[in-house]
């Protein structure tokens, strides 16, 4: 089978959203449009989406003789139902090493198929198929402000190589990805090693300026939405080549899911300081290797074997402590501390470290204040464990009502996490202790960019 531009588009769609079962004459393409495509939220757009899908019908019929229908729900998930003899489509995909099983983007390698896209035009047709399925043009897709509008390609699962190949494909048509978010606990739960819901998926984000120039859509709804978003910008944005990126990182905690069996073996067991650090470990030719290596010099500042900030109901925090002998076997000095005095300290220096035992050690006051905000908040001021609005606003609001507000602080005899309690809630704040933490980190024998962190022991803390 020779690849062609129509097939390239169809393959992009099928790989982006295709879900296959046992039936040989049926599969569907899931379009996870969420609120953006919900008939409940935006009936006019929903009506246009139906038109876009019916146009697909003609494309699928003319190329593969497959007919297309759709269903949708108020949540904005659209299913393109594909019926007919799928043998030819399956055979074509099989030629590129792709088997039609389950949710394709979760288990498919696109290495072979992208190699068959002979020129930029054909590549763009494939990208358009993916963009129409998993490319989000929701207005919330922006970097910090409306001046940097984004299209975000969103994937669930653990198909790291898919994301890597897709990123390479963008690169090859001069459409430089702006940000990449890997489905890894170091990014989805960088502060809290006890957060189990870290599997939030991958995001490959491209500036809309770039995508408008080098990418494509076939869905009119996506093209229009992308144009609307672009109009919100007051400036043009240029993309930066990955090797020239300025990479900076903040500390992340060691998460037990770094060893999750779902992670590919080359990633599993590693700790990652930055999303581009994953690119380097995966061996991407565009990764900013120099910048990543440079970060290794400050590794003790960037890795924390304890929670940086873990907030939860008091019972769960107590269980975290009792389950970990290093935390359970501490003696804690318990005191009631004035929120106002801590907040005054924070305002004087929000980078201050409290209760340390040496230079550059101690508990970051900014994390302590976030923990306190969670603890003193009324029930209607928090989501699950997240304070609604700015945490400093919440603290000021409460102090304005009660200047004598206090929380219970449990200070351990070694620099294990500080415990803050009150109001039926608790928070753990991990200390900075770079000299000790640095000793926990080693470089993997098979990959000079992969960092492994061993568990911290009482001895490490005592001998500091």
């Amino acid at each position: 089978m020779a690849m062609n531009t129509d097939k390239a588009y169809i393959f992009g769609m099928v790989i982006g959203g295709g879900i296959w079962g046992d039936a040989e004459d049926y599969f569907h393409i899931r379009l996870p449009f969420k609120q953006w495509g919900s008939y409940f939220k935006n009936p006019q757009r929903a009506s246009q989406i139906t038109r876009d899908i019916m146009n697909l019908n003609n494309m699928f019929r003319s190329v593969y003789g497959i007919t297309v229908q759709y269903d949708t729900d108020a949540g904005g998930v659209w299913n393109v139902i594909c019926e007919g003899d799928t043998t030819e489509l399956r055979t074509d995909l099989a030629e590129h090493g792709i088997s039609c099983e389950g949710e394709m983007r979760k288990n498919t390698s696109i290495t072979k198929i992208t190699a068959a896209l002979v020129d930029d035009f054909m590549k763009r047709r494939f990208i358009a198929g993916l963009a129409d399925t998993i490319g989000s043009t929701a207005p919330s897709q922006r970097r910090f402000t409306e001046d940097k509008q984004i299209i975000s390609f969103e994937l669930s699962g653990f198909n790291f190589s898919f994301v890597c190949d897709l990123c390479r494909l963008f690169y090859s048509v001069n459409c430089l990805p702006d940000q990449i978010l890997w489905n890894h606990p170091n990014f989805h739960s960088a502060k809290n090693p006890h957060f189990k819901g870290w599997k939030k998926g991958f995001k490959l984000r491209v500036l809309l300026d770039q995508y408008a120039q080098f990418g494509a859509f076939a869905f009119k709804t996506k093209a229009e939405s992308s144009k609307e978003n672009l109009q919100l910008q007051h400036q043009k944005n240029d993309a930066v080549l990955c090797p020239e990126l300025n990479v900076s990182a903040t500390a992340s905690c060691v998460h037990p899911a770094e060893h999750d069996a779902n992670l590919p073996s080359c990633i599993r067991g590693g700790h990652y300081l930055h999303n581009r650090h994953v690119c380097a470990v995966l061996g991407c030719e565009n990764a900013p290797y120099g910048a990543i290596k440079k970060m290794f010099a400050d590794i003790g500042e960037l890795v924390n074997p304890f929670p940086i900030l873990c907030k939860d109901k008091i019972g769960k925090i107590e269980k975290v402590i009792s389950d970990d002998p290093l935390l359970a076997n501490r003696t804690y000095q318990i005191s009631a501390v004035s929120v106002k005095s801590l907040y005054d300290n924070f305002q004087a220096n929000n980078n201050a470290l409290l209760y340390g035992n040496a230079i550059k050690t101690g508990y970051p006051i900014s994390q302590i204040m976030q923990g306190i905000a969670y603890i003193i908040a009324h029930d209607n001021e928090i989501g699950v464990t997240r304070v609604k609005g700015k945490y400093t606003d919440l603290i000021e609001r409460h102090l304005a009502i009660n200047q004598n507000l206090s929380v219970e602080l449990r200070k351990p005899n070694l620099l294990t996490p500080l415990v803050i309690m009150g109001n039926g809630r608790g928070a753990l704040v991990g200390a900075r202790n770079p000299a000790v933490y640095k000793k926990l980190v080693s470089v993997a024998t098979d990959n000079e960019y992969k960092l492994c962190v061993r568990p911290i022991t009482e001895g490490d803390l005592q001998n500091a």
Binding site: A2, M3, N4, T5, D6, K7, N55, N57, N58, M59, R61, S62, V63, A116, V118, D119, F121, M122, A128, A216, F217, A218, F219, K220, A223, E224, K227
Partner: protein
């Protein structure tokens, strides 16, 4: 307000890119697409004089073809063989039999094998749609001219000016650009 001629460049660029891309994928070599807007004979002669190495194969044809005023046409060649594609681009609420007949007439008179009726941002009239569904022969016409069998293949598509992309109608013999590419690839297969 744009007129139909303002869409020519984007439509030309898209078709050319698809044909070249698909030919490269199937035949592993380059395909050349040269465009003319307006009168056929003069434009053909111009194209041949500008690209003698690639278009010499069309010289005889250019001599005998009658003068004919067209919207757009493409001389498609691999350097050894050539085919003519005529586009009838419309910017109307619904393209009807009149537009279809115009395209068929141009192709029959010129001898062009391929013809596409393209309506910008709109589809076809119910009458044309029904005719193309049921009367297959009106999009696949064979004629005998000077004892020589000629074949004419037609398709009807919609140009989406927002996405800069074709939306297929599934009407006519040529249902997609990839199908057109496939036919060209097999005709030029021997090189």
């Amino acid at each position: 307000m744009r007129n139909e001629a303002s869409y020519y460049p984007e439509i030309q660029a898209f078709i050319e890119a698809q044909l070249r891309s698909n030919f490269l994928a199937s035949n592993r070599r380059e395909l050349f697409v040269y465009w003319g807007i307006g009168e056929l004979k003069t434009n053909l002669q111009r194209i041949i004089s500008e690209h003698p190495n690639k278009c010499a194969c069309a010289a005889k044809f250019a001599k005998r073809v009658p003068p004919l005023s067209l919207d757009i046409f493409a001389l498609i060649t691999d350097g050894n063989k050539f085919e003519l594609l005529i586009l009838e681009v419309k910017l109307v609420k619904s393209a009807g039999l009149g537009e279809w007949s115009q395209l068929v007439g141009y192709c029959l008179v010129s001898g062009a094998k391929y013809g596409l009726l393209i309506n910008v941002d709109s589809g076809g009239s119910p009458r044309l749609t029904q005719m193309l569904h049921t009367e297959r022969h009106i999009s696949h016409i064979q004629t005998i001219v000077n004892d020589e069998l000629r074949e004419h293949l037609f398709g009807f598509m919609q140009w989406n000016s927002t996405t800069h992309n074709f939306e297929y109608s599934n009407l006519g013999f040529i249902k997609s650009l990839s199908e057109l590419s496939k036919r060209l690839a097999s005709e030029f297969a021997t090189g």
